[in-house]
């Protein structure tokens, strides 16, 4: 244990750790902030994992076609939204169980990605690093925050934009109302299932971009195990954050930092068992859910289907 603490102490002074933590956090923020929107509107969206993977795969395909990371990002966003459209229409038009749809979609996307990745040769794909002068020279966090591949910077406008969308627009008001009390929203003339579908599209969009970020700005190529449960960690981050955007981002930061530690400690030659480290993220997520579960309020109609007349 003391060895572990030593290792953390040493690493805390290295900017590589912060870079890695930032990267991992950004991915979670892309996923969790979109998921937050869907949950505010009443969907516990399990297919987030598939959306991320679809985005990751879409980005390499787009990049492969054109050699352009921008096209990769666009295709990724489209792929994420496509998965979202299946989830949305099956669970909020036909009222099929959202969990079943989500699980099947995760299997489908994983299967499709593996099938195509095995059937075609797909090369690496990366996005250019954009350095912000002066700021990138800040100690410790300079590289982490200000010398990143460009998709990373998308997270800065995304978060306030989602906050504005949910709390300051008519759409957001209606989305929150269908997550809290779909009957009341329905009587007020709001198409409950339409808002819920749209909220899932938002998740698909951010997860698609997140998947592109994962490939273009973090890993550089596609593997089928590239997402590896991080979508579910993003789910936990939303619960950790008590369904507030701020708390969700904080959760992403904590989970991202822990994962960075898990990678950094063995890479730096410390003999902490990597198993302890690679499960940390999930154990912390579990503990976070446990600790915060009863204190905060979830949207009241979370995970409950709406059919008019069915209360």
């Amino acid at each position: 244990m003391s060895e572990l603490l030593d290792a953390i102490g040493t690493l805390a002074g290295s900017d590589a750790l912060y870079t890695s933590a930032f990267q991992l956090t950004v991915l979670l923020v892309f996923a969790a902030s979109g998921e937050w929107v869907a949950e505010k509107a009443g969907t516990l969206n399990i297919s987030i994992e598939g959306m991320l993977l679809a985005g990751a795969f879409g980005s390499v395909v787009g990049h492969e076609w054109t050699g352009s990371a921008i096209v990769g990002l666009v295709v990724a966003a489209w792929a994420g939204v496509s998965v979202a459209s299946i989830q949305a229409n099956l669970s909020h038009r036909l009222t099929a169980n959202q969990f079943v749809v989500g699980l099947a979609l995760n299997v489908l996307v994983l299967g499709l990605a593996a099938f195509f990745a095995n059937s075609f040769d797909i090369g690496p794909a990366t996005a250019a690093v954009v350095r912000i002068p002066v700021l990138q020279d800040l100690p410790l966090v300079g590289t982490a925050l200000f010398a990143r591949p460009w998709p990373a910077y998308l997270v800065y406008p995304l978060v306030p934009a989602l906050w504005w969308l949910v709390y300051r627009t008519r759409w957001g008001l209606e989305a929150r109302s269908v997550g809290e009390d779909p009957q009341a929203a329905d009587v007020s003339g709001i198409d409950v299932n339409e808002r819920r579908r749209q909220a899932i599209y938002v998740t698909g969009l951010t997860c698609g971009i997140g998947g592109a970020f994962l490939v273009l700005a973090q890993v550089g190529s596609f593997q089928t195990s590239i997402v590896n449960g991080r979508g579910f960690v993003a789910l936990a981050a939303v619960i950790f954050g008590g369904w507030t955007l701020r708390g969700t981002i904080l959760g992403c930061g904590i989970f991202g930092f822990l994962e960075a530690l898990a990678f950094a400690i063995p890479a730096n030659g410390y003999s902490v068992d990597p198993v302890i480290l690679s499960s940390t993220r999930y154990v912390v997520a579990l503990l976070a859910v446990l600790i915060f579960a009863t204190r905060v309020r979830q949207p009241r109609a979370l995970a409950q289907p709406f059919v008019r007349g069915l209360t």
């Binding site: 008519r170 008001l173 929150r176 809290e180 009390d181 009957q183 009341a184």
Partner: protein, 522 residues
């Protein structure tokens, strides 16, 4: 008053069928600017279908609608609102978690502007005397305040035609009077056309200028309200001559007649206490739902709990249904303390319950009628034994016969039954368990006059056989009719108690609004 003769809405020969059932048949209805029009009828008479047609929630099969002299089609609520038709809903239209101004703006098609919306809420509030804080969370408001928000929400677009759907069901008698004052203001100063939908005679008599009476989907009478007396209105509504006393009077909302009903002699003092609630305290969602409730029910008496909805009555019912544990105090049944919040303990101790929403803790919709009649037996005793379906079916057949339940048989899915018959299944199961205490929480909600009479009869029979009955109801009429003793709940406390013989509507009304005699004296 200059616009008195302007017809705002004119409905002709409107017909709406649902499958083989005709909800509205050849209905004519006129709403006039500057006038309040009552639409009277019992539950299921077709009132709500008619109003849903007017606000675009339901499409008619035949008939015409004219608004301000133009023939129109109302396809959806948005069309209705663009035609200047608004509705104040009875339930379900407010989201607790949102603020007042957000709720008022919910469903608006324009851009969201918080500052303007807040100002709008304040402005409408001032105009009609409906003061409410635009930034308050709706979940924190009282029932009366919530209804103000509903009305502001309806009036935000300044509709020329306003429909009120059973608006007084959540109000104290005094609040109802205030509401009618607001209606008068809207009608006389602004020439609005108002439709007041109700099943209560005295309300219609007191507040409306003209009235249309519906029965089984048809208009049975209409005319200026002062042409009718209570007897003729009641007869039109129910369809047979009615003695305006007892069950029927309660069902049609006649409180004054009830006060005159002679109270049967009772000597309950001598009887044993079967239910004793002592200083019950319950916290729910960070607010105190029950705040030291104490009362007793004796064998053979009916104790009525009056009060405006949301003052702890349903929490009390939940405690007596073993659904939530008390945070303080105790419940004794027949002299034995019963632990609260423990599955099945109240039922085992002899507390039967007709829940407020039978779909909540009263039944399992997806199971059969026989299974629903046997829920108590299924839930107790050893788990590893085989399900005796034939015995279940036999006892179900007996109860179906005894309680006149209309069903396809014991194996029919419970969800296939009509509301009245579902309620009979609940009643049959609860009474056949030979309880010591029967808790009836809003037992007649949504039922029609016939079913209400049946329910009243059964409750009285239960009391006569020595069961202690606790009747929780928002319908003051029901309480006045059935109860031997009346308690009034306000903000999680019992703030008043009186014998039926001393019951005074004025006083009960004040108590329901939280005014105790002590505070009036001050």
């Amino acid at each position: 008053m200059s616009q008195l003769s302007d017809i705002a809405v004119s409905v002709r020969s409107l017909t709406k069928r649902y499958g083989s059932v005709t909800a509205c048949q050849d209905i004519d209805l006129d709403l006039v600017h500057g006038s309040i029009h009552g639409v009277l009828g019992e539950n299921g008479a077709g009132k709500s279908t008619l109003m849903k047609v007017l606000i675009g929630l339901v499409q008619p099969d035949a008939g015409t609608i004219e608004v301000d002299g133009r023939r129109v089609r109302i396809d959806d609520p948005a069309t209705a609102s663009s035609l200047g038709i608004g509705m104040v809903h009875q339930h379900f239209s407010l989201v607790d978690e949102l603020r007042v101004w957000e709720n008022v703006m919910l469903g608006e098609r324009e851009r969201l502007d918080a500052l303007r919306s807040r100002a709008l809420v304040v402005r409408i509030g001032e105009r009609y005397g409906l003061a409410v804080d635009p930034d308050a969370r709706v979940g924190d408001l009282t029932a009366g305040q919530r209804q103000r928000v509903e009305i502001i929400k309806c009036l935000r677009r300044d509709p020329g035609i306003v429909i009120f759907d059973e608006p007084t069901s959540v109000l104290t008698p005094q609040e109802s009077e205030q509401l009618f004052d607001v209606l008068r203001v809207a009608v006389e100063q602004e020439g609005k056309a108002v439709a007041l939908v109700s099943h209560k005679l005295d309300e219609i008599r007191r507040a409306t200028d003209t009235v249309t009476v519906l029965r089984r989907g048809q208009v049975v009478d209409h005319g200026p309200t002062d042409r009718f007396d209570e007897r003729s209105l009641a007869q039109a509504m129910v369809g047979r001559p009615v003695a305006l006393r007892g069950d029927t009077a309660a069902a049609v909302g006649l409180t004054e007649d009830l006060v005159a009903v002679p109270v049967p002699e009772s000597s309950s003092e001598a009887r044993p206490v079967v239910l004793a609630v002592n200083d019950a305290v319950l916290d729910r969602n960070q607010h105190r739902a029950l705040d030291g409730v104490t009362f007793e029910v004796r064998a053979g008496e009916v104790v009525g709990i009056a009060g405006v909805e949301g003052n702890g009555q349903s929490d009390l019912a939940d405690v007596l249904a073993s659904l939530v544990p008390l945070d303080g105090g105790s419940v004794m049944v027949d002299g034995v303390r019963v632990p609260t919040g423990r599955a099945g303990r109240m039922t085992a101790a002899g507390v039967a319950l007709i829940p407020e929403d039978r779909h909540d803790a009263g039944c399992v919709l997806d199971m059969s009628v026989a299974e629903n009649l046997a829920l108590g037996a299924l839930a107790t005793g050893p788990a590893f034994r085989s399900l005796d379906r034939s015995a279940m079916r036999r006892s179900a057949e007996r109860l179906i016969e005894q309680y006149g339940i209309q069903t396809g048989g014991p194996d029919a899915p419970f969800s296939s039954l009509s509301g009245g018959n579902q309620q009979r299944v609940v009643l049959a199961r609860e009474l056949s368990s030979e309880p010591k205490v029967l808790v009836a929480s809003q037992p007649t909600r949504g039922l029609d006059v016939g079913a209400i009479e049946f329910m009243g009869e059964k409750l009285r029979e239960a009391a006569a056989s020595g069961v202690g009955v606790l009747l929780i109801s928002n319908e003051l009429e029901e309480i006045l009719l059935l109860a031997d003793r009346i308690l009034v709940m306000y903000r999680g406390r019992v703030i008043g108690s009186m014998d039926r013989a001393d019951a005074d509507i004025e006083r009960i009304g004040l108590l329901m609004g939280g005014v105790t005699s002590a505070s009036t004296a001050n």
